[in-house]
C-alpha cells in the first residue's frame, strides 16, 4: 500500500486529505486506481501529473515501480521555457 501525497489542487477531490493510500505496483497502476476511486482525478491526469518517488521526479516513465515505504508525491507536470 503506497501513501501518495497530494498537492493542494488535488486535495478537494479526496475530501481535503493531504494524502491517500493506494494499492499499486507502478505509476500506471497508481493512475488507474486513482481514476477509478476518484473520477474527478481524470481531468488532472489528462492534463498530466508527475510523480516524485523518493525524490526523483517521473513525468513519463509509467512503468516505474512504487517501492514499499517509498515517499510518493503527485506534482503538476511543469512546462519549460
Amino acid at each position: 500500500m503506497a501513501e501518495v501525497h497530494l498537492w493542494g489542487a488535488l486535495r478537494p477531490i479526496v475530501g481535503g486529505a493531504l494524502s491517500v493510500s493506494v494499492e499499486a505496483k507502478n505509476i500506471r497502476e497508481l493512475f488507474k486506481v486513482l481514476a477509478e476511486q476518484y473520477p474527478a482525478f481524470e481531468p488532472h491526469l489528462q492534463r498530466g501529473i508527475a510523480v516524485s518517488i523518493n525524490g526523483k521526479i517521473y513525468r513519463d516513465t509509467w512503468d516505474q515501480a512504487l517501492p514499499p515505504d517509498a515517499e510518493i508525491y503527485l506534482l503538476p507536470r511543469i512546462p519549460g521555457g
Binding site: 498537492w7 513519463d60 511543469i78
Partner: protein
C-alpha cells in the same frame, strides 16, 4: 537499454573541451537558414487581421470585398477552422488563440487571414475586410481581474481546486497550494517578520527572430511546414490535430532558431498558414512583424505576490508564506502554480505554505519564458530574505547558508531532496572575489538564489557510421544554444573518435520518431542520453563486425579509443581495427552500421544558482547601470563549458532587462502601447558588463556523465539580486519590477520626503 550511470571520477577525453559549434560558420557568414529564409516556388504571402479591441463580440465578418481583390487567393476566418478538438480544453484554447471565434479576447487577437500574391495585395485585402464588433468591458491588470466588479472574460470558467465548487464563473480559473508544517505557529515563533506585496510586470522573451513559416498543403492531404520553432514534432502534432490531418501526412522541418526561450513552444500562426495553403492550393509564407510578436505571441505573466517570512534573531527562518497571483493572458493556465512550487525551493523550512491563484485577463495567451514563473516568485522570496537579513543584522549570504536546503531536506513542494547544489553555490558566492571588491559612490551589491526543476521527456537519436568511418547523428531536439556541439562531443566521447568526425543534424519530423520540444533545459540532457545509448548500440555492431572480420566470437571483442580490439590474448593476436576500417568493410559484413535509441529521459535533476550583482544608481535620474555581475550555477557536468557559460550569461542578461526596464504597458483602452523595441527596452551589449560565470559540477546521479540542464535557472535570481543591490545602493526597497528610472526616482523621492 538501461544506461550505466556510474560516473564517479570518470575521466573524459572530449567532454569538457571547447570545440567550435558546428553551426558557427553558417551563422556568422549568413548562410544559416532561419524561419523567414525559406521560400517555395509560387508561394503566396499571408497577413493576419487582428483585433484593435481588448474584448469584444464578433457580430459579423464580411470578407466579400477582399475576396474580389485581384491577387487575393484565399481568406480564412474561424469558419475555416472548425473545432475538431473533441472537448480538449487546452487544444480548444490553442485553436481559439490562433483565430478568434465568437469573441476577441485581447488587443491583437487574430480574426481573419489573407493569402495573396504579394504583401501589398495582402495588406490591401486586410483593409477591405469588415468586422462588426460589439465592444465589451475589459480588464488587463492581474489584481483588478480578481475584483467582483471585473468583467468576467469566460462564462464557463469556475475556480478549480476549491470546495465547494463555485456556482458563478470568474477570472480565477484555479487555486492550489504547497507546503508543510504549521505556518501560524512558525510566525508565532519568529522574532522578526518581513511582509510585503511584490509586483512584476509582463515581459516578452524578446527573441530576435520573429515567428515565421512556409506552409504547403497539397490536394492529396499531404503537407509540409518549414518553421522556426523550439519543437517541430509538437508543432506537427498540434497543427495536424487542429486541421484534421493525419500526423504522418504533415512533415515539419525546423529552421535555425533566433531565440525562443519558451515563446516558440506554442503554435501561433502556423495553423493559419496551413489552412490558407490548403484553401489556396499554393505554398503560403507567413512572417510576423515585431509588433505582432509583441501583441499576439506569448509573453510571460505579470504577477502580484504577497510574501511573509519570519525568522529568529539567530537567522533561522521559522515560517514562510506566499500568495502568488499570475495571469495566463486571456485563457486559463497554471502559471501561478509553478511559481508556488519553486518559490521556497532553495530553503530548508519547517513551516512553509505557498498558495497560487490563476488569473485570466484581456492580454495575449501567456507562454513559457525560461524557468517559467520562477523568476517572479524568487524576486519576492529573495527580496524578503534579504530584508530579513538586514533587520537581523546578519550577512545575507550567511543567512541563506544557514537556511539552505540540502540532501535530506523536505522541499517546499513536497519531496525530499537528493544531492543538490544550493549550498555549494552559496559557499562559492561567499568566497568569490566579487563579494570583497570595493564599491563606489551610489553603488550597491546584492545577491540572490534561484531554483528550477529541469526535465527530460520523449527523445530519440539515430547514429549512422558512414563508409569512411565518420559519423552522422540525427536528433529531434532543436538546437537553441549550442546543443549540437555538446551532443557531438558526447557521441565522440563514446565512440572514441574526433569531435570533427561527428556531424549532428536536427532531423525533420518524417525522419525520426517523436521528440518533445527543447524546453525545460532538456536538450543536452535528454538528447545526450539518447546519443550515448545510440553510440553504445553502434559500438556493439562495430564489435560484431570486427569479430566477423577476425572470425572470432563477438564477445571476444572490446571497443577502446575508436578501435575494436581482441578482448585478451585468448581471443587472438589481431592488430586493432579502426572505425574507418570496419566501416569500409561494412558492405560485406552485414551492411550499414548504425545505433539508435528511443527513451523517456526522466531524472533530469533540479538546479540551483546564486548570483551577485553590483549596480550604480544615478539619484538624479533613477537610471541604474549594472557594473559587475557574477553567475554561480551547478551544471552537474559541463559538456561544452563555453555553451554552459553562454546559457548562464544569456539568462542573466534577460533577467537584468526584466529587472530594470522591460514592461508591457497597456492603455486604459486595453491596447498595448509599446509593441516595439524602441519603446520596450531590452538590454543591448552596451548596457551590460561582462557577465562572469562560475560552473560548479555536482553530478546528477541519473545521467552517465552527471549532466543537469543549465538553460533556465540563470534567469531566476537576477530580479531579486538587482533589487537587493538597489536597496544597498540608494536605500530604497523596490517591490515593483521593472525598477525603471521613473519608478526608482519616485522611490528615492518618497524616501527623502
Amino acid at each position: 537499454m538501461p544506461l550505466d550511470t556510474n560516473f564517479t571520477n570518470q575521466k573524459f577525453k572530449q567532454v569538457g573541451t571547447r570545440p567550435l559549434r558546428p553551426d558557427g560558420v553558417d551563422k556568422v557568414t549568413g548562410r544559416a537558414k532561419y524561419g523567414a529564409d525559406y521560400n517555395a516556388p509560387g508561394q503566396l504571402i499571408a497577413l493576419v487581421l487582428r483585433s484593435p479591441h481588448a474584448h469584444a463580440k464578433i457580430k459579423k465578418i464580411d470578407t466579400s470585398k477582399a475576396e474580389k481583390l485581384p491577387g487575393v487567393k484565399a481568406i480564412i476566418t474561424s469558419a475555416d477552422l472548425p473545432d475538431l478538438t473533441g472537448g480538449d480544453r487546452g487544444m480548444r484554447d490553442m485553436l481559439e488563440n490562433c483565430m478568434a471565434r465568437k469573441k476577441v479576447l485581447y488587443d491583437g487577437h487574430a480574426v481573419a487571414a489573407v493569402a495573396a500574391i504579394d504583401q501589398t495585395t495582402a495588406r490591401k485585402a486586410l483593409k477591405l475586410i469588415q468586422v462588426d464588433y460589439e465592444i465589451l468591458p475589459h480588464v488587463t491588470d492581474v489584481d483588478e481581474a480578481l475584483k467582483p466588479s471585473a468583467p468576467v472574460i469566460h462564462n464557463d470558467i469556475f475556480t478549480e481546486g476549491v470546495e465547494p465548487k463555485p456556482t458563478k464563473p470568474s477570472n480565477n480559473n484555479k487555486r492550489a497550494s504547497f507546503g508543510h508544517g504549521d505556518i501560524a505557529q512558525g510566525f508565532k515563533d519568529a522574532d522578526i517578520i518581513v511582509e510585503h506585496t511584490y509586483k512584476t510586470e509582463q515581459t516578452h522573451q524578446g527573441y530576435i527572430e520573429p515567428h515565421a513559416c512556409v506552409a504547403n498543403v497539397s490536394p492529396d492531404g499531404q503537407g509540409e511546414l518549414w518553421v522556426c520553432t523550439q519543437g517541430h514534432f509538437v508543432y506537427r502534432n498540434q497543427c495536424a490535430a487542429l486541421l484534421g490531418m493525419d500526423i504522418s501526412k504533415l512533415r515539419v522541418t525546423a529552421s535555425e532558431i533566433g531565440g525562443g526561450f519558451g515563446g516558440k513552444t506554442h503554435i501561433w500562426a502556423e495553423p493559419l498558414a496551413l489552412a490558407l495553403s490548403r484553401k489556396a492550393n499554393r505554398p503560403v509564407k507567413l512572417t510576423m512583424s515585431r509588433e505582432e510578436v509583441f501583441r499576439c505571441s506569448g509573453p510571460t505573466s505579470s504577477t502580484s505576490i504577497d510574501m511573509k517570512i519570519g525568522a529568529k534573531r539567530d537567522g533561522t527562518i521559522t515560517a514562510a508564506h506566499g500568495v502568488l497571483r499570475y495571469h495566463g493572458g486571456a485563457f486559463p493556465a497554471t502559471w501561478a502554480e509553478f511559481g508556488a512550487m519553486t518559490a521556497f525551493a532553495c530553503y530548508d523550512l519547517k513551516n512553509v505554505k505557498s498558495e497560487s491563484i490563476e488569473v485570466i485577463v484581456n492580454r495575449p495567451k501567456t507562454a513559457a519564458y525560461r524557468a517559467p514563473s520562477a523568476p517572479m516568485a524568487a524576486f519576492a522570496v529573495e527580496s524578503a530574505v534579504d530584508e530579513l537579513a538586514k533587520k537581523i543584522g546578519m550577512d545575507p549570504v550567511e543567512l541563506r547558508i544557514k537556511n539552505a536546503a540540502k540532501q535530506g531536506t523536505q522541499s517546499s513542494y513536497g519531496p525530499v531532496y537528493g544531492p543538490i547544489g544550493i549550498g555549494a553555490t552559496l559557499e562559492a558566492a561567499k568566497n568569490h572575489p566579487h563579494m570583497k571588491a570595493p564599491l563606489g559612490k551610489n553603488q550597491g551589491r546584492g545577491m540572490a538564489c534561484g531554483f528550477w526543476f529541469n526535465f527530460g521527456g520523449q527523445t530519440c537519436a539515430d547514429l549512422n557510421v558512414t563508409p569512411d568511418g565518420t559519423v552522422t547523428l540525427a536528433v529531434g531536439t532543436i538546437d537553441v544554444g549550442g546543443s549540437r556541439a555538446s551532443i557531438g562531443l558526447m557521441a565522440a566521447e563514446e565512440l572514441g573518435i574526433p569531435y570533427e568526425n561527428v556531424r549532428v543534424v536536427v532531423a525533420d519530423t518524417s525522419s525520426l520518431g517523436h521528440n518533445d520540444m527543447t524546453d525545460g533545459s532538456r536538450g543536452t540532457f535528454s538528447t545526450g542520453l539518447a546519443t550515448i545509448a545510440a553510440a553504445r548500440n553502434a559500438i556493439k555492431v562495430l564489435c560484431a563486425r570486427a569479430a566477423k572480420m577476425w572470425d572470432i566470437p563477438e564477445d571476444a571483442v572490446i571497443w577502446e579509443d575508436g578501435h575494436a580490439k581482441p578482448a585478451g590474448t585468448n581471443a587472438g593476436n589481431f592488430p586493432p581495427l579502426s572505425i574507418k576500417e570496419i566501416a569500409a568493410a561494412a558492405g560485406n559484413t552485414g551492411g550499414p552500421i548504425a545505433g539508435h535509441n528511443e527513451l523517456v529521459a526522466d531524472g533530469a535533476g533540479v538546479s540551483f544558482a546564486t548570483h551577485i550583482c553590483d549596480i550604480e544608481v544615478d539619484p538624479e535620474t533613477g537610471r541604474s547601470t549594472v557594473k559587475r555581475y557574477t553567475v554561480i550555477q551547478d551544471a552537474g557536468k559541463a559538456i561544452h563549458p563555453s555553451y554552459v557559460e553562454g546559457q548562464y550569461q544569456g539568462g542573466a542578461a534577460q533577467g537584468i532587462g526584466w529587472a530594470l526596464n522591460e514592461e508591457y504597458i497597456y492603455g486604459k483602452d486595453g491596447r498595448l502601447q509599446n509593441a516595439g523595441f524602441l519603446d520596450y527596452r531590452i538590454p543591448v551589449c552596451s548596457d551590460l558588463p561582462f557577465i562572469d560565470t562560475m560552473i560548479l559540477e555536482i553530478p546528477n546521479p541519473n545521467h552517465p556523465y552527471g549532466v543537469r540542464g543549465v538553460g533556465e535557472t540563470s534567469i531566476v535570481p537576477p530580479l531579486a539580486a538587482i533589487a537587493n543591490a538597489m536597496s544597498n545602493a540608494v536605500g530604497v526597497r523596490m517591490t515593483h519590477i521593472p525598477m525603471s528610472p521613473p519608478r526608482v526616482l519616485k522611490a528615492i523621492s518618497n524616501r527623502k520626503h
